[in-house]
Symmetry: C2
Subunit: 412 residues, 2 copies
């Protein structure tokens, strides 16, 4: 069997990652540029989001309309998004069409037109997207929870704020493009029915002479506090709870991940069983790990009716505390099976694989094989998980609510 994973860093700092999947016809690519909301200019939050739209409005020899038409002619499914660390462009399609589209993505990233009328549209859409959050209290809660939990600028929403979006100009967008769209620390990952040497040659020719500079320093500040209530007239209350955890690169990572599976993985997860199935307090409840570079946190959510909101919050916190008493051997066995099954099944999607190898490289500087992940999961013992839970008690909690009235926070 031929080698499956490939990794190459070009002299300008761009890293190419590839996973060959000969059994499929498609390919998916993920391009991560170090232009996330954490490096948005402080008075221009949301700038990366506007830019990720604006670069698609004409590039190289094609105007906005021609560019869109051309990529649709190749049958490529595209996405773009902005996270804390990166602006991400995703493409998937029949593998030869994805390769054929690479020079156009080089145009988009390196030679965008950044037209003034396109800027107005892109900013208007960003403002509308932000206004739409008012109609989505669950999304509003999750945005506020990040903001009140993570140290600034890591809790920023990529949507920006109304006043900062209104301050954006075509000139500021162009300056921000010059500042943040560079090769250094950019990651280009591709997975699917591809030939590594062919992709490497294409990337070398399209991106090899791309400017490598990218230095955007961060000023880290504590969050505003750890309790927040956002008033919203509604029949529903949305509850968010967050507390610090370990980074993904910590040697104890899979002890924590397996413990989290017991708390909220599968349908036998404790939160689901105790709060939803037994007590029917909520329609939706979950908790999960969120990793940033060098830090990690647990985020939990429950959405419920106003009458049940206080009982839900109390019950949620009780379950989190009970967690540090440890888990059973049967719970661990189920958690291992569940985590390995989702790892194996992710293996069958080119888009999931491209995202996974890019994420691995960003956090670890290398790609892990699926066997390595499976072995790490298998190696965890019950004693290790329970020792981990004993020494990593949940808390301190950040608690945010959205609804018509504040809740009492008692048993934390």
């Amino acid at each position: 069997m031929a080698e499956r994973f490939f990794q190459h860093t070009f002299p300008n700092g761009l890293t190419l990652l590839a996973e060959q999947m000969p059994a499929v016809q498609s390919a998916a690519m993920t391009l991560l540029l170090p232009a996330g909301s954490a490096t948005d200019p402080v008075h221009r939050l949301g700038s990366a989001t506007v830019l990720s739209d604006l670069v698609l409005r004409g590039a190289g020899a094609r105007d906005s309309h021609q560019l869109t038409d051309y990529l649709d002619t190749l049958g490529l499914q595209r996405s773009s998004s902005v996270g804390i660390h990166h602006t991400r462009f995703g493409v998937s399609g029949i593998s030869e069409k994805v390769i054929q589209g690479l020079p156009t993505y080089a145009d988009i990233i390196r030679r965008p037109h950044l037209p003034p009328d396109g800027f107005e549209s892109a900013r208007d859409l960003a403002l509308q997207s932000l206004a739409g959050v008012d109609d989505d209290p669950r999304q509003k809660l999750l945005i506020k929870l990040r903001e009140w939990h993570f140290p600034s600028p890591f809790g920023r929403s990529s949507l920006g704020q109304k006043d900062t979006l209104e301050k954006l100009t075509i000139e500021s967008a162009r300056a921000d493009y010059q500042r943040r769209y560079h090769a250094k620390n950019a990651i280009f990952a591709i997975a699917g029915n591809i030939d590594f040497q062919q992709v490497k040659d294409a990337i070398a020719s399209q991106f090899g002479d791309w400017n490598g500079a990218n230095q955007v320093p961060l000023e880290v500040m504590p969050p505003p506090g750890n309790r927040h209530h956002e008033h919203q007239d509604s029949e529903q209350t949305h509850i968010g709870i967050a507390y610090p955890s370990i980074p993904e690169t910590d040697p104890d990572y899979y002890m924590m991940r397996l413990a989290m599976e017991v708390l909220s993985g599968g349908m036998s997860g404790r939160l689901f069983t105790e709060i939803r199935e037994k007590r029917a307090l909520v329609y939706s409840v979950w908790a999960g790990y969120t990793g940033l570079k060098g830090m990690g946190s647990i985020f939990g959510y429950a959405g419920t009716s106003n009458e049940r909101a206080q009982a839900t919050l109390d019950c949620f916190i009780t379950e989190l505390h009970r967690f540090s008493e440890g888990i059973s051997a049967a719970e661990l066995a189920r958690a291992k099976t569940g985590l390995k099954a989702s790892t194996i099944m992710q293996d069958e999607s080119t888009a999931a694989r491209a995202g996974a190898i890019a994420h691995d490289f960003f956090l670890r500087g290398r790609i892990r094989t699926l066997d390595e992940i499976k072995n790490a999961i298998d190696a965890v013992t019950l004693d290790q998980v329970n020792a981990y839970l004993k020494t990593h008690k949940p808390g301190p909690f950040t608690i945010v609510t959205v609804g018509p009235k504040e809740l009492r926070i008692e048993n934390v």
Copy 2:
């Protein structure tokens, strides 16, 4: 190469469909029972939804807790949902575990405990899910649009209504189970790394002696009207437009589907280009085909700020009318590429394939190969699409809005 598709109908009326995908490790199954919201008892709307939860709360030799634990021990990802025609159970996982779980699904479908305390929880959750719609005006709009567009009972929401859910009792749920959970017209579809003969033997032994009776007649009535406004205080207005189309089994189906790709497929789709990209009127706009058995409709949606709502509605209707003037050769070429690419890529997901073969069989009584679909797309000519659009002008429109104020409906 071994045969890929298999189909077998058992004497009791249950049909088994299978697609062998030897290149993957996983398998996914879809079980469709003819217990959709269309056959909910008229004073007990939402009954199928409650039942789809209740049957999972203990079955065969296992109580609710043991059942959940056991399926998690197999690492199976499960889902259940209720549509117009069917209650659907989905399972995916490593292929041998999916097969190993089949006897448990036979317990769930044929030998559920239907316990009173489980019933109370299931109904409470259904009520909460319904209440949650109030916090999601987009979902509310789409529910109302179906209700005002389709003849009853085909426009029903599977969530039911507050008063009808409150009328449900454990006795009514048990009676409804007896009435609707039967083998006749049930469809069991599986796709992945499986052996057809092995699955067939397992299904024969688990479901072969299942009672076949299932006769639930429908009384079809016209919808309440074709204009509806739902007041909601918000910064946003949500607009829904629907009009009749052809059923999926119509020989002209791919002419219509390719035309719809031009209207709203990919990023060069006309609605996206004209309403979002050029005029920045909306953050989200789309239109798509929805097929039921023997009927089909086009559903369109736009979400926008209140100030832009009137212009958005006018512009949306203008684009729909312009549509009947026809499309260009370049637009058709892009539409064909896009539709074929998504067909091929769907081919790489076992869950998507299990769903697709079940859907095919329900509408057509047989499974189509991907080549058959690709050939049908390729065979469509520009003249055919334009003749279709000329003879199938959009309308009559059902128009539903959710927001703080009614809009004028002028150019329909």
